[in-house]
């Protein structure tokens, strides 16, 4: 596989502030690559460096193995779909899409054909004559992507293109966008703060936090094997326990909570550096009232505080005995747990391999979810 985009040790400083901190990655041709991170973590800055609107403080950007640092933005074989779309209001749809082609000196029927093929491809055939302000949000979205794709860029950069859409449309566009990418086979570098967008569409996702990558992996691996506390919290939902660690005489590791709970862990840890740890257990890894006698399973008693009904995504809000911390437990809608009511006492359990544990990080943790 050819490498479409390669970034090496890229850093960008605004004065004293480091917006992008020594980032390296490669994207293979034809892949859908996402960069996922909270707003303000430096995603746009990174993308603008690739597009050529920011000059990196240090590092290298290569497109198809050619260094493009000295290439002006209008000559780089990458196109950008802007966060606010930046469709030209003084031109109609056709002229917007034809703009880049005309700048290359293409004329006449050639341009007509390419634009119309592109309009068809994004599902808006015959929209050429429309003015930009006559389009709906989703249509504008597609035109912005069409305008960039028609130039057949080596890499298409997309800066939170679905951010402005309402939730329903966003769900729909996610799927559309993925289909489109598979169809045209162009390399997409997609940035977003919405983990579901990144997970649904991407071949690879890089999780970004305050200027650096925390983890670069497939969506499945990000979910099941988060490499850091940040990733564990940012990708998907998670229950967090503040714990200490200890090792028993047979070499098993346990997480201990201040309330006296003791939970078996599946991995060994280096206990040299003492201190606080964070243990994460996904809501769907939590088993309600597990069958008794299973030695390997961790268990705790809890009160049901509320039932959060949400169809297939229904959950229980529970509070462990002697604790104030709230936990979220997935509630499968297969009638097996219909008997559970608020204020009930239940047992909650999970297998040691479902839990991940990290040294408590000093950095501020993202707070949206």
């Amino acid at each position: 596989m050819q490498i479409a985009l390669s970034v090496k040790n890229l850093t960008k400083k605004f004065g004293d502030f480091t917006a992008v901190n020594n980032i390296s990655f490669e994207v293979e041709d034809g892949k859908f690559f996402s960069i996922l991170g909270p707003s303000g973590c430096g995603k746009t800055t990174l993308l603008r460096m690739i597009a050529g609107f920011h000059k990196p403080t240090s590092g290298i950007i290569e497109i198809r193995e050619k260094n493009v640092l000295e290439v002006e933005p209008n000559k780089r074989p990458v196109n950008l779909v802007f966060q606010n779309l930046a469709l030209f209001p003084m031109m109609n749809v056709f002229e917007n899409i034809a703009f880049g082609l005309r700048r290359r000196g293409e004329k006449g029927p050639e341009v007509d054909k390419k634009v119309n093929v592109m309009l068809e491809r994004v599902g808006l055939p015959g929209y050429g004559k429309k003015q930009i302000n006559q389009l709906s949000g989703g249509q504008k979205q597609r035109i912005a992507i069409a305008r960039a794709l028609v130039l057949d860029p080596t890499v298409l950069l997309l800066d939170e293109p679905l951010g402005a859409l309402d939730a329903k449309l966003r769900e729909h566009m996610k799927v559309e966008l993925k289909k489109l990418q598979v169809e045209v086979g162009t390399t997409f570098v997609y940035i977003t703060h919405d983990q579901s967008e990144a997970m649904v569409m991407s071949d690879y996702v890089a999780v970004m936090n305050s200027g650096h990558f925390e983890q670069l992996d497939t969506p499945q691996n990000l979910y099941s094997n988060p490499a850091s506390s940040f990733v564990a919290q940012f990708v998907g939902n998670n229950n967090k326990f503040i714990v200490g660690l200890k090792k028993d005489e047979s070499g098993n590791f346990y997480a201990t909570t201040p309330e006296g709970g003791q939970f078996l862990l599946s991995e060994p840890f280096d206990l040299q550096d003492q201190g606080t740890f964070e243990m994460y257990v996904r809501p769907e890894a939590m088993i309600i009232n597990p069958s008794q006698g299973n030695k390997a399973i961790n268990e705790l008693n809890a009160d049901v505080k509320a039932i959060l009904f949400d169809g297939g995504n229904s959950r229980l809000l529970v509070v462990p005995e002697n604790s104030k911390q709230e936990l979220i437990v997935a509630l499968p809608q297969n009638h097996q747990f219909d008997y559970i009511k608020a204020k009930d006492k239940i047992r909650v359990g999970w297998y040691p391999e479902s839990a991940v544990c990290f040294k408590k990080s000093e950095e501020k943790i993202y707070e949206e979810l």
């Binding site: 605004f14 609107f53 920011h54 000059k55």
Partner: protein, 289 residues
Amino acid sequence: MKNSKPHKIRWSFIIFFIPVALWLFLLIVFPHLELLKMSFTGTDFYGKSGFTLENYGEFFKEPIYWRTFARTALYSIFVTFIVLVISLPVTFYITKIAKIKSQGFLTILVLIPFWVSELIRVYGWIILLRESGVINKFLLKIGIFKVPHEMLYNDITMVMGLVYTSMLFMIVPIIGVMESLDDALIEAAYDLGAKKTTIWRKIIIPYVTPGIMSGSIIVFMLVLGSYLTPKLMGGKNALWFTEQIYNSMIIYFNWNQGAAFGFLLLLLSSLIIFVALKVTRQDFKEVVK
């Protein structure tokens, strides 16, 4: 944004800056410095020119000069006030009372006379008001007047003319602000039991103050610096200060005296505008927007 076009000489800056700087310096700054310099220059007994305070001394020595000056200033403030008092109900009518459909039409109707040259507007009043004018002829015909009356060439007519020629510059900025006043504010005040006068005092006037200020500044400026209207409609034996300047410059060809008068007028207008802005706590930059 500033980083978007890196490592470049700022050609765009140079291209934009040079003509603007030439305009501002050659046509604004230097001419006014020259005005200032000329106002302190005089020719002595031997025809040699040099520094003098004589031009300003003359102004304070001759009562006719400073009286004209004071008269011009006071009348300008008075006219601005009258214009404001008329403009507020008119703009309120156009933006808040007239049918929505006729709003645009009324606005245009108010704007049309504004685009017609001041001279033509004054001329219209002259043929209406003079002794042989339309109103006199009409009133004689229907028997209200026995003999024709000269209605031009007095201060009342002059004030009316100044109000007429400058009013649009008050109406336009106030309409702009008044339009953005949400009807719901007035409805809410009314609902809470406010009287009309209270609504005007507490809601409308404070809201449109930026418009009032920009209108007042422009109107005051125009009236203070107007030449045609006082000249053609005002009393023959009481001058406007701009006429004084014209006379010094063009008739007596005393440029130094004219420069001193001009500078005094400039000082006066800046001072009054400054005080007005300070009193109403408005920012010049905001007001002229």
